[in-house]
């Protein structure tokens, strides 16, 4: 949602009319996007549920158990990142330095989550859970992997927001739109954790 950055041509009136509306257009656009993303993940998770409930034995024989405890810890880290971003949003209008610090902390915790998961994946592969070893492996890497991809994109967007804020270019609506996306990534994870890991 970067149309406000258009340098060369004048902004469409459509964009300028944003001010007097209840919801900023970038936020509204992001909310719609997130809603369809929710349906996308609902499709993945319901597919997993159907296949799992149709299986004779679960987990499939010879497959390792998923790392429930470690991931619970990692889940807490991700949730904390979401809280930090919330605090950063609140500090945005009052204290830019504090906002910037909170934001970078949120980004750091988010990155920690992704890296921790990568390490977990390496261990699982080592124990014989791969994309093709069973439907558990297929769904696990598909669902968790696509979530991780979302997390990486969201982290990149937050870094961009952070850089723009340091240069003083950041519009409130942009920050809000990226925050909506990160809240989505954070809020989705506990559901995936409950459905896929447990």
């Amino acid at each position: 949602m970067t149309d406000l950055e258009q340098g060369q041509s004048p902004l469409p009136m459509a964009a300028q009319r944003r001010g007097d509306r209840a919801v900023d257009s970038r936020v509204l656009g992001m909310l719609i996007f997130v809603a369809s993303e929710t349906m996308f993940f609902a499709g993945l998770v319901s597919g997993f549920t159907i296949v799992k409930s149709g299986a004779m034995v679960w987990p499939p024989p010879g497959q390792p158990r998923l790392p429930i405890e470690e991931t619970a810890f990692n889940t807490a880290a991700l949730l904390a990142s979401g809280v930090l971003l919330f605090l950063a949003r609140r500090a945005f209008s009052r204290d830019r330095t504090r906002c910037s610090q909170l934001l970078i902390a949120a980004i750091g915790l988010g990155a920690f989550f992704v890296i921790f998961q990568g390490v977990e994946w390496l261990q699982l592969i080592h124990f014989g859970l791969t994309l093709t070893s069973s439907t558990l492996g297929s769904f696990f890497y598909l669902i968790v992997g696509i979530h991780a991809l979302h997390a990486v994109i969201a982290i990149a967007l937050m870094l961009r927001i952070w850089l723009r804020m340091r240069r003083g270019w950041l519009a409130e609506g942009q920050f809000a739109a990226v925050a909506v996306f990160w809240y989505f990534v954070v809020g989705l994870w506990p559901i995936l954790y409950l459905r896929v890991y447990l």
Partner: protein
């Protein structure tokens, strides 16, 4: 096609946008919603010609088995499969969607709500570029080793997931990738449509002053965005099964082939409404103008559409009555399916009520609009047979089904498109179309259309199965009367295709020599008719203010029988 494009540079107003644009920035990399609309519309029409050519090739094979089809050659069984598959895929995803949703949506939404562009113009441009890429990927699949995918447009596994059954190892993957890319493009477009309609309306335009077609396109976009997620998920799994050796749909390794059917039809049924609603909207704009009457029950129609939208998510398993689902489930889906015909029937009555007592002008757009209502009615009524699980078990996969959905999709994709195209042609290109040629084209399309598909209902009830390449192999289906009927159908198709040349000639001639269109040739109320034809860059010199709803026709005690939305009194 360069002359077929409205000139964004003929800006009638001073102020903004008076910079010379190169060919590339004006026609190819434009962010102007009108240009993007034209790109979508002409790409869609070009794809429509390709899809029609495919229909021609396989219909020739069905009528005259084993014949060297002129311009195509011999149709092999594999060719036949990929032709029918891609005919369906193209007509729905690369014709109906881009023309009705993206073409009309991009052109009409900013013009009808009184603003100068979409809220996210660059995302809009990207949307078209991804769409174009998706079309190229799909067409490229005909030239890869093994040929294009031939497992039907619904792509059920294992035909779609395993090359040993489909025999198109690369074609299947190209198909999935093309469809997924296309969905991403429409997702971007949909975000733009909804956000623009919500946030950028002209001052004074309240929710219930929005023209119905805008409402319809917005609701269609919402339906699309709400239903497409699960199918994208399914498409990724299918792609993984094809290329990475997973077993999401392979029951021998723990997967579930029916899963795809659920994900596909959870999207597939709302998809019908995604393309139907814009066509209903286009008709809703045309009928009041040529009946000079207020649209009957504006708010009721909106509520009806909301209800239809919600209901459309609860009917998908009516496509799976013979897929082994629990009969008790089938009963539930029968009830919801029959329920959903109620709001659509109501809509037809609303249109008839709008016509009632009006002073009707049978111009070309009006003929198309009326034909839409009449023909879609046949599609809807025959759907009731198929919605009832008992009847469907007999009819499933016969030509009855095929004729039924062509009676819904032809009115939507072809009749709806021509209705809108002939109606807004003056606004798009600044010239009037030839009405006499338009009527010849209309009758030349509508009569053969019915000659094609009414016989197919009969053949379907006689048990003719859909996916047979040469009926001579099935003595029960190769009876003389059946073969004669097939020949009749194919000849009707040829006649219909020939009459499309009249349309192209009409467009070509009208663009050059057509009478110059005034701002408001149809004496219509909505905002797009208050600016130049074609609108310049930025659409209006001064953006309009809205004072009333869009359908104030023949208001008593007024001198004129129309009352534009932007007129203070």
């Amino acid at each position: 096609m360069a002359e077929a494009v409205p000139a964004g540079s003929q800006d009638p107003h001073g102020g903004h946008g008076h910079h010379e644009q190169s060919f590339w920035s004006k026609y190819v990399f434009s962010t102007d919603h009108k240009m993007i609309a034209m790109q979508y519309m002409f790409t869609g029409m070009a794809m429509g010609m390709i899809g029609a050519f495919m229909a021609y090739a396989f219909r020739m094979q069905l009528a005259f088995p084993g014949m060297e089809v002129p311009l195509y050659g011999l149709v092999s069984p594999a060719n036949y499969n990929s032709l029918v598959t891609n005919h369906g895929t193209i007509m729905i995803f690369w014709v109906a969607m881009p023309v009705l949703l993206a073409g009309f949506g991009n052109f009409l939404i900013p013009l009808m709500i009184g603003c100068d562009d979409m809220v996210f113009p660059r995302i809009n441009r990207l949307s078209y570029q991804i769409f174009l890429l998706s079309a190229i990927v799909l067409l490229a699949s005909f030239f890869v080793p093994g040929g294009a995918f031939g497992g039907a447009w619904t792509a059920y596994p294992p035909l779609s997931s395993e090359a040993q059954y489909s025999l198109t190892p690369m074609g299947s993957s190209f198909w999935v990738v093309a469809v997924a890319l296309e969905f991403v493009a429409f997702l971007m477009g949909g975000i733009n449509f909804v956000t623009t309609a919500m946030n950028s309306r002209a001052p004074g335009m309240k929710m219930y002053d929005i023209p119905i077609v805008v409402w319809m396109i917005v609701i269609a976009s919402i339906l699309f965005m709400a239903s497409v997620g699960p199918l994208i998920a399914g498409a990724i799994m299918l792609f993984f099964d094809q290329n990475l050796g997973t077993a999401f749909y392979d029951p021998s390794r723990g997967g579930d082939p029916i899963l795809w059917q659920h994900l596909f039809w959870f999207f597939g049924h709302p998809e019908v409404y995604v393309v139907l609603l814009p066509a209903l909207g286009v008709t809703a704009e045309i009928i009041p103008v040529f009946a000079r009457k207020k649209f009957f029950a504006y708010k009721t129609v909106l509520y009806t559409v909301f209800a239809t939208g919600v209901l459309s998510f609860t009917v998908w398993a009516h496509h799976q009555f013979i897929a082994g689902i629990d009969p008790r489930m089938a009963n539930i889906f029968t009830v919801t399916t029959l329920l959903i015909s109620v709001p659509i029937a109501e809509m037809c009555f609303v249109y008839i009520a709008t016509l009632w007592g009006g002073s009707i002008t049978l111009s070309t757009p009006m003929l198309w609009a009326l034909a839409f209502v009449a023909e879609f009615l046949i599609g809807g009524v025959t759907g009731i047979f198929l919605g009832a699980s008992g009847a469907d078990i007999y009819m499933h996969d016969t030509y009855f089904v095929l004729a039924h959905f062509h009676y819904t999709f032809y009115p939507i994709a072809i009749v709806g498109t021509f209705a809108g195209f002939t109606f807004w042609f003056p606004k798009m290109f600044g010239r009037m179309m030839d009405d006499r040629l338009g009527k010849i084209h209309f009758w030349g399309s509508i009569i053969p259309f019915n000659c094609i598909f009414i016989p197919l209902f009969v053949l379907g009830m006689a048990g003719q199965h859909r996916r047979i390449f040469d009926f001579n192999a099935y003595p029960d289906l190769a009876l003389p009367w059946m073969q004669h009927t097939r020949e009749f159908v194919t000849i009707a198709l040829l006649v219909m295709l020939a009459f499309q040349l009249v349309f192209f000639y009409n467009v070509w001639k009208s663009l050059r020599k057509g009478e110059k269109a005034s701002k408001n040739p149809w004496k219509s109320n909505t905002l797009e008719w208050t600016t130049e034809s074609p609108p310049g860059h930025g659409n209006w010199a001064e953006l309009p203010t809205v004072y009333r709803g869009p359908y104030e026709y023949s208001v008593p005690d007024r001198e004129e029988d129309y009352w534009p939305q932007n007129q203070p009194s």
